[in-house]
């Protein structure tokens, strides 16, 4: 029976560049050692495949050029009929989509748009929105 996922030795290196490689960067390279292979591959059997949608997912970034998460955020994942909902209960924000990564991407966009909107309107925010703006600034930083 063929394996579901077979991974060969990974090549990891500095991104392509024209100059000669710095010897110090050799530390980044991976090699498959005899006693300590750099990769372990787990093949899940057809009868016991784990679910791909967890109840919680830790998300590390917003995939935005200027907005970054200060620390990874824990996102709750719930299902509503055919849609998955990715939410941050602490700030009552959510995103949704047909599958996990679509819901997470929608949540990212929601956070980005909310941050930008509250930033541009911060002089006119009421107490509730001001509190949300402060919470968002604890989660997100602008670079």
């Amino acid at each position: 029976m063929p394996e579901v996922l077979e991974l060969e030795p990974v090549q990891m290196s500095q991104a392509g560049e024209r100059r000669s490689p710095d010897p110090d960067l050799e530390r980044l390279k991976l090699s498959r050692g005899t006693h300590e292979p750099p990769i372990s591959v787990e093949i899940h059997h057809e009868t016991s495949l784990p679910r791909a949608t967890p109840e919680r997912l830790i998300v590390g970034n917003l995939n935005h050029p200027h907005l970054w998460l200060r620390i990874p955020i824990t996102v709750s994942i719930t299902r509503d009929e055919s849609l998955l909902i990715a939410s941050i209960p602490e700030i009552d924000e959510f995103g949704y989509g047909p599958h996990l990564t679509a819901a997470v991407e929608d949540l990212r966009q929601t956070l980005i748009e909310l941050f930008q909107t509250l930033k541009s309107e911060q002089a006119r925010l009421g107490p509730g929105m001001l509190q949300l703006w402060n919470q968002l600034q604890e989660l997100i930083e602008e670079r």
């Binding site: 990974v10 090549q11 392509g16 787990e42 495949l49």
Partner: protein
């Protein structure tokens, strides 16, 4: 020597690409990606497909365990997991990249994903669609 515990800021994924072949130029480490795709056509299922996953990241500094889950999205199953042993990234400002040569079994038509994690934190994903023969 004992490897330090995983730690460090979440890397930012600059690119995540599936392709037929990834060539690394010896000396410069430049990558050439050939046959970038987002769809797999197969005449029969299950089918074994060989492909390369290219990932470029930045803003990493510390020790990382990278993990890739191969996911059957339509059936909501993780079909396989590949974990790279701890890697130390010394400089947050330098982009770095991976080339993963993969052989995967695609069980049937549908949507599939590779999900990338660093120290169990979700970073990004790349998906492709598997299709059967056209009628």
């Amino acid at each position: 020597m004992e490897t330090p515990a995983p730690h460090g800021p979440s890397p930012v994924v600059l690119a995540m690409v599936l392709c037929d072949v990834a060539i690394t130029e010896h000396g410069t480490n430049k990558k050439t990606l050939v046959g970038i795709f987002q769809r797999v056509l197969a005449s029969v299922f299950p089918t074994l497909q060989r492909m390369f996953l290219y990932v470029q990241m930045t803003d990493a500094q510390g020790v990382y365990i990278f993990r890739i889950d191969f996911v059957d999205v339509d059936r909501d199953h993780v079909r396989g997991t590949a974990t790279v042993n701890p890697i130390e990234v010394p400089n947050r400002l330098d982009p770095f990249d991976f080339v993963f040569p993969l052989t995967i079994e695609i069980s049937g038509p549908g949507l599939y994903e590779f999900r990338l994690y660093a120290n169990d934190v979700f970073l990004n994903s790349i998906s492709f669609t598997a299709q059967g023969p056209h009628p």
